[in-house]
Symmetry: C2
Amino acid sequence: MVAQRGRRNGAAAKRTRTPAAPDADNAPTAEMPAVAEAAGADPEARAKSIPEAAVARLAVYLRVLSGMADQGSTTVSSEELSNAAGVNSAKLRKDLSYLGSYGTRGVGYDVAVLIGHIERTLGLTRQHKVAVVGIGNLGHALANYGGFPGRGFPVEALFDIDPDLIGVPVGGLPVSHIEDIPAVCTERQISIGVVATPPTAAQSVCDRLVAGGVQCILNFAPVVLQVPEHVEVRKVDLAVELQILSFHVARRADSEMNGSVTGNGVVVP
Amino acid sequence: MVAQRGRRNGAAAKRTRTPAAPDADNAPTAEMPAVAEAAGADPEARAKSIPEAAVARLAVYLRVLSGMADQGSTTVSSEELSNAAGVNSAKLRKDLSYLGSYGTRGVGYDVAVLIGHIERTLGLTRQHKVAVVGIGNLGHALANYGGFPGRGFPVEALFDIDPDLIGVPVGGLPVSHIEDIPAVCTERQISIGVVATPPTAAQSVCDRLVAGGVQCILNFAPVVLQVPEHVEVRKVDLAVELQILSFHVARRADSEMNGSVTGNGVVVP
DNA sequence: GCCACTTTGTGCCTGCGTTCACAAATGGCT
DNA sequence: AGCCATTTGTGAACGCAGGCACAAAGTGGC
């Protein structure tokens, strides 16, 4: 969705810093014959070759599996799981095969075991401290999310530029000034920065997060952030999402010029 | 990413309703030789063949272009625009070519003209009324977004299940009860529904939106929504985004087992 | 009016991701 | 113990999307 791309920088460009990319474009750019390596037994090395699209789905599988575990299921077949996750069963099996063969033929997958493997692969066994920058409507919502979606992503720092907000606790955590981002992030070992500022401030905030040693950035601001190569950026852009939907509405409306009724926004002939 | 897919339903499944998919999977499934058709002059027909990935980028180009227009630029080259949007210039030209040949060789693109064409293609010339369901932290933020990101997406209905919220104005609009979704959506000609409820409520809310004639759904709840075929779903999932980032952090940490310093969360040897 | 330069538009090639379909493996039943 | 039903894991084919590189087209200078 949250889809994005680009690692290798294009032709000529002054800045070498690279942008964020929507969906695919996975890691195995070079450095090793992905498949051959994946055939090895080392699960760590295997991780490198997992396509990003598959990683995104693994996260979904994980959630579905957690739900199933809560309901007492102990095993699932690829068919069940794929249905619940909304994907093709073959794709699901291939995705799972990236992390090794942890299923039992004729039976299915052990829910608990699978959860464990996915969590390990996604790096969810460690905690990833999160900082939220920009305590506006969205930032507020994020800060209050509490514990943050699921497990392992504690929000441990908040920043804003508004003097009236500095020191005010939001969701139990006091807001610090944007100036202090590098220091605070370094000190608290923040690894993920969430940018929820207005577009104009985003790049400078991003630079400070990078200076603070943050490794990944989740960007809600409608700008393409420029970051050094070792920093990963994911972008969530509401406007883009809406516009994509808009496109589909328009497309549909066009092909139904005959005034047939499929929903609101009908073409009245 | 943020990605979603799936139209054609898998093998055997009780419910025929299909899920949402993360990124690609574009329209030209069959029914016509895409390229040949695109060569035609009809801009409406052309729209069908635009790959979804390109649509997402068009939205980005549009924003960049708007910024340029505000700064007084009248023309841009594909090189400039692609840099600003963080993509390859060839890709940009190809994307733009989906909407026709509106550039001038040797010069570039006329900013205003291009904006116009992209807006038309994305269906931004009509207004798309939006309803937000679930006025919690996130829903609140969305409702207050005011005018909603950019142009053309007025929020015209709010829903929640909490009796204390019903009737209370949020962002200038009173909250209605979830029960009334179908009636209100039909009446106000809502075309886009935003689901910002807890996961458990999401599917039932979704069903009501569909009953209300909503054509597209933007889903923030961590569930795979089941919808009839004519409804388009896009999913924005914070947990998934974070987990993808987590994966990258972990991957990086693994490949730097030597304790080299690239950021926080360093491996202390 | 011609030439050289710039920039678009696109045909072609490459590579990744998705899907199909089947062989291998396992459990249960007789 | 052997057979059948079931389900995984994956080799191979397909198709879309990305990127290169060039021909076409238009501009500005001489």
